[in-house]
């Protein structure tokens, strides 16, 4: 890695599976980064990836891996930037081999690509193992398991960094661990130093969702205006040896980094601010300081940490049949009344003609949908859309629902149009905890 004195520069090049690529290329070219992290896995993403792998053993990794590697490998090699990513999803081996093929095709001979495996713990978990935070065990469920992955921490990534990897590809690498590991490597932080682990985890937690800290998922016109959000830049963390950091972004990009954007991300998906659990540490964000330090620069510090959790979290993915969605729109005078009538007809027909009642939800978009459970319908809109959602184990039931909703075009209220319907496979995930001893991460270096 390039030595730039006391400051280590980490950038985020993706904060979720479908995140943008062109701002990542800009950051790789102009960011003078030591490391670029691409965080591309959610709990359900892994389960879907396992299904892809079952259908084709050469797949099961992030769908955008090829495009991302083609665009980023040359820029990162030029800048001496190490790439760390969990784009391997359910098949890190195939992902690393594909990355090596791409590197060779681009003429990047000698590029060192580390493949981290060992997060897949299928067959190593007892069927009597209880779920986390809910009753039941694996054996109780009776649905087919598509995959089981343990969250791997910084200790799984460090050996690949010590071995001089240019690109590190894993599966279920925990999001903040992908940031903590290179900081431990660069600054020589001890694995037992929980204060530094907390500091590095704070950096990772703030950075892992990409633009959620540079103005994405933030704009609210009139109260929280964000400049040029269409050209939003990914974040950069400038980290010092003590773990203190400045969060910033490239000049000339859209978005903003302010105390407000940092604070919203600080507790994103956090419950107790004093106990944020990762495979590396029980991080304490309760006394974190957040201070503006110039335009689009915010200084953070004061994170702490205590004991490393004894057990690792495992995500178990199950086949959950099909998700079917269908809709018809109504506009103009009394659109809401016609839409409500469509809701009544759809519910009656699905029940009476097809016996479809369970796992069914009917909303009227424009009048009441997202907040329908939270409170009674309120809006009177002149542009509404019936939206029917059904989850079912039977494909035929899903098809019948789509047919029934489409029939509203001729058999429903006046002026209904714009039918669309679709059926997608559904997965379900549950979590459990297992002993660390059952999880043995490995890495292998592939040379382009």
């Amino acid at each position: 890695m390039a030595d730039r004195g006391d400051i280590f520069r980490i950038g985020t090049g993706a904060g979720f599976a479908a995140d943008r690529l062109d701002p990542a290329v800009d950051l790789a070219r102009r960011g003078a980064l030591d490391v670029m992290v691409l965080e591309c896995l959610g709990e359900r993403t892994v389960a879907f990836a396992h299904r892809d792998r079952m259908a084709d053993p050469r797949r099961g990794y992030n769908a955008h891996l090829e495009r991302r590697m083609r665009a980023l490998l040359p820029a990162c090699r030029d800048a001496g930037t190490v790439i760390i990513t969990n784009m391997g999803a359910a098949n890190p081996r195939a992902a690393a081999e594909r990355a090596r093929e791409i590197a060779r095709a681009l003429g990047l001979a000698g590029l060192r690509i580390a493949c981290i495996e060992g997060d897949d713990v299928s067959g190593r978990v007892s069927s009597t193992q209880p779920f986390m935070d809910e009753p039941g065990t694996l054996a109780d469920l009776g649905q087919s398991i598509v995959g089981m992955n343990a969250y791997l921490g910084a200790d799984a990534i460090l050996p690949a960094l010590h071995a001089g990897a240019d690109v590190i590809i894993g599966g279920r690498l925990a999001d903040p661990s992908m940031y903590l590991a290179p900081l431990m490597h660069r600054f020589g932080w001890n694995a037992t130093d929980m204060t530094r682990a907390g500091a590095g985890t704070l950096v990772g937690h703030l950075m892992e969702c990409g633009m959620q800290i540079t103005g994405g998922y933030f704009a609210d016109p009139g109260v929280k205006d964000v400049p040029d959000l269409a050209a939003c830049g990914y974040p950069i963390a400038e980290v010092a040896a003590d773990g203190g950091a400045v969060i910033t972004k490239l000049p000339g990009t859209g978005g903003c980094v302010t105390e407000a954007t940092v604070k919203e991300q600080l507790l994103y998906e956090v419950h107790d601010p004093a106990a944020y659990l990762t495979p590396d540490v029980t991080a304490d964000f309760s006394r974190v300081t957040v201070k503006a330090d110039g335009k689009d620069r915010v200084r953070v510090g004061g994170a702490n940490g205590r004991s490393r959790p004894e057990k690792l979290k495992v995500t178990v993915g199950f086949d959950a049949g099909f998700m079917a969605e269908a809709g018809v729109s109504y506009a103009g005078p009394a659109a809401s009344a016609r839409g409500r009538l469509a809701v009544e007809i759809a519910a009656a027909r699905l029940k009476q003609a097809h016996g479809i009642v369970d796992n069914l939800r009917i909303d009227l978009i424009g009048a009441s949908s997202l907040f329908a459970t939270a409170r009674l319908p309120q809006a009177e809109s002149e542009d509404v859309r019936l939206h029917v959602a059904l989850r079912t184990a039977k494909r035929e039931e899903a098809e019948l629902m789509l047919w029934e909703v489409e029939s509203l075009l001729c058999c429903g209220p006046a002026g209904g149009g714009g039918f669309r319907g679709g059926i997608t496979p559904a997965v379900m995930t549950k979590s459990l905890l297992i002993d660390r001893a059952l999880v043995k991460p490995t890495f292998e270096m592939l040379i382009a």
Binding site: R44, D133, E134, Y217, F218, D220, G222, V223, K224, A260, K263, E264, Q265, L266, L267, Y268, E269, V270, H271, D272, P273, S286, R287, V288, T289, V290, A320, N359, L360, R361, D363, I365, S369, L370, F371, A372, T373, A374, R375, H387, A389, L390, R391, V427, M428, T429, K430, S431
Partner: protein
């Protein structure tokens, strides 16, 4: 913060901003005042009990509130509040990303 109509009651959105996240069937919403001078008021009006009371059909479990005094923020943890969670919910917004605006939409003074 906003120029709202004279007859519009002030809502939490007028003094604070918020972000929602999800884990399983649990939602968390963090809420931050723009002006530290409003923090005491926010703490007084946005109690865990009020959040639970305002959305009885949605929030089936308990509500916990964490206070981050020095940054002028509150973090609400809403248990059993995602209609089964992303696996089971048939809500278009199965992650409850919009729950932040449920809280921001509350009037500053609860109805008597």
């Amino acid at each position: 913060m906003t120029a709202r109509g004279r007859n519009t009651p002030l809502s939490v959105r007028d003094i604070a901003h918020a972000r929602a996240g999800d884990k399983g069937n649990t939602s968390n919403v963090n809420v931050w005042v723009y002006d530290p001078a409003d923090f005491e008021r926010l703490k007084r009006i946005l109690t865990a009990e009020r959040i639970k009371r305002e959305f009885p059909n949605l929030v089936r479990g308990k509500v916990e509130r964490y206070v981050v005094e020095h940054l002028h923020g509150l973090n609400f943890v809403l248990h059993e509040a995602l209609e089964g969670g992303v696996n089971a919910s048939l809500n278009l917004d199965s992650h409850g990303k919009s729950w932040s605006y449920l809280i921001l939409g509350l009037p500053l003074e609860p109805e008597r």
